[in-house]
């Protein structure tokens, strides 16, 4: 097991290296020049050239790449071209809101979706099942910004229960934190509720037709024990897989929610940096995203051994 974890962690290095090279090349081959953005509309060509020189952007591409890679190996993600702040600091400032939103969303989604999926499977073909599935289809179909604006109108503007925008760090107290993150969590969570509920239902339906379930039922086991201990556990591998994919997608996919609710997270940092061609920030954020994907995938794989003893690494 430990050897497997070590192997997987080592395998992340070439993955990250490939991501790093690809991102660097893509960015530098994309049209657009941060020096022009900085210099502004009225700059003379020689002014732009001087800024480019100060930023090291006039160096050959391979020199820029090795300079960035060297700093990266020393643990330095570089400095933002625009704010002149360390990229690590910028990411640090934005990491908490994004992580908080992602974690809150996935907890919300699991708490709602798994029971929904189990109930839908248990009541398959009934009105309850259909209502749950209609909700699941709606959850997939309605864009997150529509849900966000609708909730904002109802719960913020009309009822005044929640703020329209902004984020309170957990350091300022759990209640203000929860208050600020409640609407974005629900808005973003709806699609994941729909996704996980559908997978849970499908997986449970398959398990519920197995012989051992019939045997357990024949032995007189009550429904709760049957559904949770026997059926859900055996159906959990695909559910955990989809939850894991959901977490990975969430980390990179919160940008719309962050924009609608004005949460200063990594998604917005990335979009702003791309629009301005702030290369060090884009590179740093994408590396962090890639690392998160790799680790989440590793954790999913490891969780299989807990959920299904037949799986060994």
């Amino acid at each position: 097991m430990y050897a497997y974890i070590a192997r997987r962690l080592l395998a992340t290095l070439p993955v990250m290296a490939v991501v790093g090279i690809a991102v660097f090349m893509l960015l530098h081959l994309t049209p657009g020049d941060p020096a022009v953005v900085i210099a502004g509309d009225y700059a003379r060509p020689e002014d732009i050239e001087k800024i480019r020189e100060r930023l090291g952007l006039n160096e050959p591409l391979h020199v820029q790449f090795f300079s960035w890679m060297g700093a990266l190996l020393a643990g330095d993600l570089g400095t933002s071209i625009f704010s002149n702040l360390p990229v690590a600091k910028l990411i640090g400032q934005r990491l908490e809101p994004t992580l908080a939103l992602a974690i809150a969303t996935i907890i919300f989604a699991i708490l709602i979706a798994v029971p929904m999926g189990v109930v839908a499977a248990w009541k398959a073909g009934t009105l309850t099942d259909r209502v749950i599935m209609v909700f699941a289809v709606l959850g997939f179909s309605v864009p997150v910004f529509v849900i966000g604006y609708a909730m904002m109108w109802l719960f913020s503007i009309t009822l005044g229960w929640f703020p329209v925008q902004g984020y309170k760090p957990i350091g300022e107290g759990f209640w203000p934190f929860l208050h600020s993150i409640a609407l974005p969590t629900v808005a973003l969570g709806v699609i994941y509720v729909a996704l996980i509920a559908r997978i849970t239902r499908a997986s449970m339906l398959e398990v519920l037709t197995e012989d051992y379930i019939r045997t357990a039922r024949a032995k007189g086991l009550d429904n709760n024990a049957l559904l949770i201990r026997h059926a859900l556990r055996n159906a959990s591998v695909p559910i955990v897989t989809i939850i894991g994919i959901g977490i990975a997608l969430l980390i990179g996919g919160v940008v719309v929610t962050e924009s609608v609710f004005n949460i200063p997270g990594l998604g917005r940092l990335t979009i702003d940096a791309v629009l301005r061609r702030d290369y060090p920030v884009i590179q740093g954020v994408i590396l962090i995203f890639s690392g998160a994907y790799v680790i989440v995938n590793l954790l999913i794989d490891l969780s299989y051994t807990v959920l299904d003893p037949r799986i060994r690494y």
Partner: protein, 531 residues
């Protein structure tokens, strides 16, 4: 149902209030919360021309001179100034009591270093430096600018309201290379920058500078007394317009600098919000042809654009609400002393037949026109779409190439032929404050590939007229030069086609008073009704 919502709302509000009191979060600090037009990315208003950094500059720095709401220049940090009889030596004495945020007194040597740094980066600053022999501190309070020959725009340059505004910095920072960013903010302005609370992409905090000595005159534009009525001003960047509108309606912010035009009707209906246009100069749209390559290297083809463009169509497409735009052909902004009606007929006639005739006379034979379309700025996106149709209507073969603004700003610097990666037309706009004079308005330069802005118009006569304007001190003679210059621009050079002038409203919560009329948002002079 209504009863349920009302009861629920009151119950929850009571609970939240109780929770808030229990947490002891009440604060006696007065705070003004602003939604700015952009995120503050960098802190040096000399290093970049970004308007958001200019606005930051006005918070923390001060200027030697400043323009009032009618664009007249008044002393600001300067207490008194004199000009020698030959017009060559300007002597400036600073006001008493000016201090940097670190407590040191503002000295003449700080101002000398600041002027020299600004003079390397700003267009009007560079022009001033061309005429300047020496900038020198005489003593701690006095410095001089000695010219090589008389120049009519010394005070206009030092008092220019928009980017790059000549903000005064402490000598140790002003001596940093003009192409390096100053990252420490030690100004002498009415607010101090709370760097520890700055979260790029989200929030900027300014604290009232208790040591600031405001002028005694009433505030007007950037000039007059900068009296601050709040302990803190917070800029809360909200990129999504719908969210910004909801935050204003909900009272989470007090002031929104650039409400989206399509949200104006909703804001007008809200009883807690006021809307007003406080920038009387507005914004001018520019359709910029490339003068280096056919067909727009020919004056007749450029004049064809004047006849083809109908400002009303553009303004409808990009603004929509007639209250917020004006058809205005003048190159130097309607409603300013430099507005002129000379030679505007071509732009006002909207005569596609005449445009076709001029194109034929220019020798246009159906070559492809590369029109760069910036898709991430809605206003420019719409303008490009209108132009594509306008050009097709007069028989041009147009290829619209979509790209983001960053890509466009790089591509427009290409002088290559359009077919080889160059371009024929792009759109942009200039704030009125940047377009009111032939020197500040970079778009009318006819300096060619060496000196002109992207598109590279080339015309010696235009440059001669701009130079005459810069040297002239008499306002009547200046106006005559403006008329002459505008005639040249319309009848020959057509450096760009002005597709209209529009006005950005600002919105604030009712109860806010003292919002100044100006192209730049200022947060002194504003106060809030108690309760």
């Amino acid at each position: 149902m209504q009863h349920f919502w009302t009861t629920a709302r009151h119950t929850t509000l009571a609970a939240l209030t109780a929770a808030s009191m229990a947490l002891g979060s009440a604060s006696a600090e007065s705070v003004l919360r602003i939604v700015p037009h952009a995120d503050l990315k960098n802190l040096d208003p000399i290093w970049t021309t970004a308007y958001i950094t200019r606005n930051h500059g006005y918070m923390v720095y001060d200027t030697l001179f400043a323009q009032d709401e009618k664009l007249n220049v008044h002393p600001q940090m300067v207490g008194k100034h004199t000009v020698s009889d030959d017009g060559l030596v300007y002597t400036f004495t600073l006001r008493d009591g000016l201090k940097w945020h670190d407590g040191d007194p503002v000295k003449a040597e700080d101002c000398v270093a600041s002027i020299l740094r600004w003079g390397q980066r700003d267009g009007m600053g560079q022009k001033l430096m061309d005429f300047t022999k020496e900038v020198k501190a005489v003593d701690d309070m006095t410095f001089t600018i000695t010219l090589n020959e008389p120049y009519g725009l010394v005070l206009d340059s030092l008092g220019k309201i928009s980017s790059n505004t000549p903000f005064m910095m402490k000598k140790e920072y002003a001596e940093i290379d003009a192409f390096e960013q100053v990252t420490e903010v030690v100004g002498s302005g009415p607010f101090r920058f709370a760097k520890d609370e700055w979260v790029p992409g989200s929030k900027v905090v300014y604290l009232k500078n208790e040591d600031y000595v405001a002028r005694s005159e009433p505030a007007s534009g950037a000039a007059g007394g900068k009296v601050v009525n709040f302990d803190r001003v917070e800029w809360i960047y909200i990129p999504d317009p719908a969210t910004a509108m909801n935050a204003l309606i909900n009272g989470e912010v007090d002031f929104w600098e650039t409400p989206a035009v399509d949200m104006v009707p909703l804001l007008e209906q809200n009883g807690n919000v006021e809307l007003a246009v406080v920038d009387p100069l507005g914004t001018q749209g520019w359709l910029r042809p490339n003068h280096l390559h056919p067909p727009f290297d020919n004056p007749k083809a450029r004049r064809a654009l004047l006849y083809a463009v109908n400002q009303a169509t553009y303004l409808q497409a990009i603004v929509g609400d007639p209250k917020l735009y004006k058809e205005c052909a003048a190159y130097f902004i309607c409603g300013t002393p430099n507005e002129s009606n000379v030679s505007v007929e071509a732009l006002q006639s909207h005569d596609p037949e005449k445009a076709r005739q001029l194109l034929a006379e220019a020798g246009y034979k159906g070559e492809k026109i590369i029109l760069m379309q910036s898709t991430d700025i809605p206003l420019l996106n719409n303008a490009a779409l209108v132009t594509a149709q306008v050009l097709r209507d007069i028989g041009m073969d147009v290829e619209v190439q979509a790209m983001d603004w960053s890509t466009l700003t790089s591509r427009r610097a290409e002088m290559k032929k359009p077919a080889d990666g160059g371009w024929n037309i792009f759109h942009t706009y200039a704030t009125g404050a940047d377009a009111t004079s032939p020197i500040a308005n970079i778009g009318v330069s006819g300096g060619g590939v060496e000196k002109a802005w992207f598109g590279w118009p080339t015309d010696e006569e235009t440059e001669m007229l701009r130079d005459r304007f810069a040297r002239e001190a008499d306002s009547m003679k200046k106006k005559a030069i403006i008329d002459e210059l505008q005639a040249r621009l319309f009848d020959h050079l057509v450096p760009y086609v002005n597709y209209g002038q529009w006005f950005q409203p600002v919105a604030w919560r009712k109860g806010l008073k003292g919002v100044l009329v100006s192209p730049v948002p200022f947060f002194w002079n504003i106060s809030k009704d108690a309760g």
